[in-house]
Amino acid sequence: MTSTTQYIGKPFKNVDAEDKLTGATKYITDMRFDNMAWAYPIFSTVPFGAVRQIDLKAARSVPGYIDVILAERIPGENQVGVIVEDQPLLAGKTVRFIGDVIGIAVAETAAAAHRIAKLVEITYTEYEPYFSIAESESATSQFIHETNIACSHRILKGDPAAAFRKSDLIVEAEFSTGSQEHFYLEPQGCVAFPEKDGQIVVMGSLQCPYYVQKAVARALGRPLDGVRVIQAPTGGAFGGKEDVPSELGARVALAASLINRPVKMIYKRSDDIQITSKRHAFSMRYKVGVMRDGTLQAAEITLQSNAGAYATLSSVVSYRSTMQSMGPYVVPNIRVNSTAYYTNLPPAGAFRGFGSPQVAFGHERMMDLIADRLDMDPVRLRLKNVLKVDAKTITGQQLSASVGAEETIRQACRISSWETNQATGSTDGRYRYGQGIAASIYGNCLGAAGWHMDGAGVNISIQRDGTVKVAFGLAEMGQGALTVVAQMTAEALGIDHRRVVVLLTDTNSVPDSGPSVASRNVVMTGNAIRDAASKLLPILKAAAAELLGCGADDVTIGSDLATDSKTGTEVGFAELADYLYRGNQPTEMRGWWHVPQLDFDPDTGQGEAYFTYSYATHVARVQVDTLTGQVQVRGVWAAHDAGTVINPAGLEGQVEGGVAQATGWALTENILVDRGQIITSNLSTYLLPTALDAPPVETVAVEDPDPRGPWGAKGVGEPAFIPAAPAIANAISNALGVEVYELPLTPPKVLQLLEEQEPTAGMP
């Protein structure tokens, strides 16, 4: 696949690395604007209640005070819900979590704005709050919204009841997984400034510029063209800058338009953790029926997730987790019910994997439990049931191409020497060792639930000097989007990559391209680039034919040249570009691509859930310290089918980063909450993997090209995270000889597991 390409499939250096290495990159906190004021959110200090009174006296006395903005001054709609309209931009009467923003403090300095926000005195009538799924589920009155159910999804395929009756073995288990804080190193931040022509410009650390544009327009009661959103270099996002920047953007825009000055708002870390969205905590019940030879027959799955105070993206997270709840396996008869519950916690939103890591823990623990009960090798069990071309997923979708699931299992075993390392429960004094495997599936792009916004564009413009400017509609947030866009543009136009300049996203340059989520950049933007190139190439060829005195059909373009294939005479791209201008030819073309129409029935959960899928299998090896309960992940071996790999260096970087984040989620990242107040509100208590904790990773690409992807590519950003935590959990279970049912496996929990295991310690 890659042999005929110049750039695709070759390691490509990050185009924006140099400025980041010299400190020259200006993130939003680093930017200054003339006459700029500062804003800070005033937020609820109670988890659930009604606002009785707001006293501004003390706040107004702070030197540098400019304004305190409350809900009644919103000129447009007081609504910032992305999918469900349940979230006010500024809470007027009801507050639903500690961190629910009630007003905006505006001041001359950041410190004064913080001070004002602290000094606003709010009195509440408090209601009895709901924190757990169980509490929320059992409520009979005083609901958080009209009801406590945020959304639900289902699948029904075949006849599960009959299939359970026919099964040789039925295995049941309950699992739970914890929430997770994104902890992007750059906290949330936005700036808004009014332009002379009346347009309001918002710049910020964000991953979905078009969401922000819509939110600002809505709050200010303006048409979309009155709002321009420009992405600033973004210091990590991982989903955490999908929904939240709409709130920040709309709040600073509101302040900027009211005081008619640039206004900036940067969250302090502890507030960022308290206020912003996180990963959904899940409770899961799995019941799986299987034949003696290991063939899966039936499954019944109940998923419950904690949505927090507002729905934000819960419905799409719940959709994805439902559709992927049995992973990359064939299950002919299945029923899945998934419900997200409102609670009085910070909203749960998008986080790398988007509901997939939670169900991957469920289905991969189940596979190990089943293998154990059948006394079957866990790899053989997986291979027996894995999806292949022409097989049907649990949504009844027949897979036509690019199903590398089986190969990822085989490759992960190969590179990890799985067979020869059967380290079950091996002991070395106080340490125990084990290994685990986990496979996963990931539906590319937004799927049937988000098809209405699954299109994206580029605008490629050849400059007179032969440089090529590319505007695209998705966002760079550290994952290397600018780099792959440069690489794909150079490939598509057959030019030297140094000619290509990729711009950060600006809603003025490219039409609404949907959110930069779901690992969709390579597929969407890559296909859009090919579309634009298909319009530019004939123009370039016609011009070259004139210059070379040959027929346009004889011209080949590549290696930064146009060549007459008959005579071998050449003209360089720069000369060609200049010639286009001198001939008044078009030099700028737009490209667009959308996901093919999906046929899906939400009532039965049957149909094409996503247009294609990425697959991954990870093997993890752990060392468990029986004295402290600490787990060291000694290595992860990762095999990924992301179709054709565009940038192998980028793939490895994504996988290593994803594995490290998953290691944190699996072992140490434990959000502790005391009556709605997060007490693990900074790094000294919320423990991220350090250089000593992140495991070494070996990555192998299983390239099963997808005919619908650009050059055969699929997404990889999220699949990098998904199988790692279940592989680690399976390895811990393997090391200790006990079953694990929950994440995170913090040291105290591991010690508890060891106690459980004591009575059987003498068994072989």
Partner: protein, 164 residues
Amino acid sequence: MIYLDTPEYFDLEVTVNGQRHKHRVPTHLRLLDFLRDTLDLTGAKETCGEGECGACTVFLDGQTVNSCLVLAVETHGSEIITIEGLSQGGTLSDLQQAFIDEHGVQCGYCTPGIVLSATQLLREEKHPTRERIRFELAGNICRCTGYQKIFSAVANAACKHREV
């Protein structure tokens, strides 16, 4: 950033990236804010503000410090090097180049701090083992890369040392 109703002031003299500066600063001003807000040297970042992440790392008299934990007045008479001062004249250090070659940069927010910590390490130890690199970088949090390519960048720069 701390708010005080009636701050006290101090006349600070300090050399930053080879340039002498004189500024009247509030005594409670953190070094990080002095560099970022007063001098507009924004390469040092604030991520945790409590000495845990290393994103605010700078050199203070030849030693790396977390500038969120140092008061500006404590640096009176000292010499400070920030990331902006590392590659003066526009040429990248071997270490910075190695970060590009080894793909050690993703979002970049941790990068200035990590580059300075690794620079310190390579000054102390020309050819550190991978274990030593891991250990010395344990005070710098990176959320994007999983660290492995950062270790490779430091090891790669150490190799270049050998050739000199």
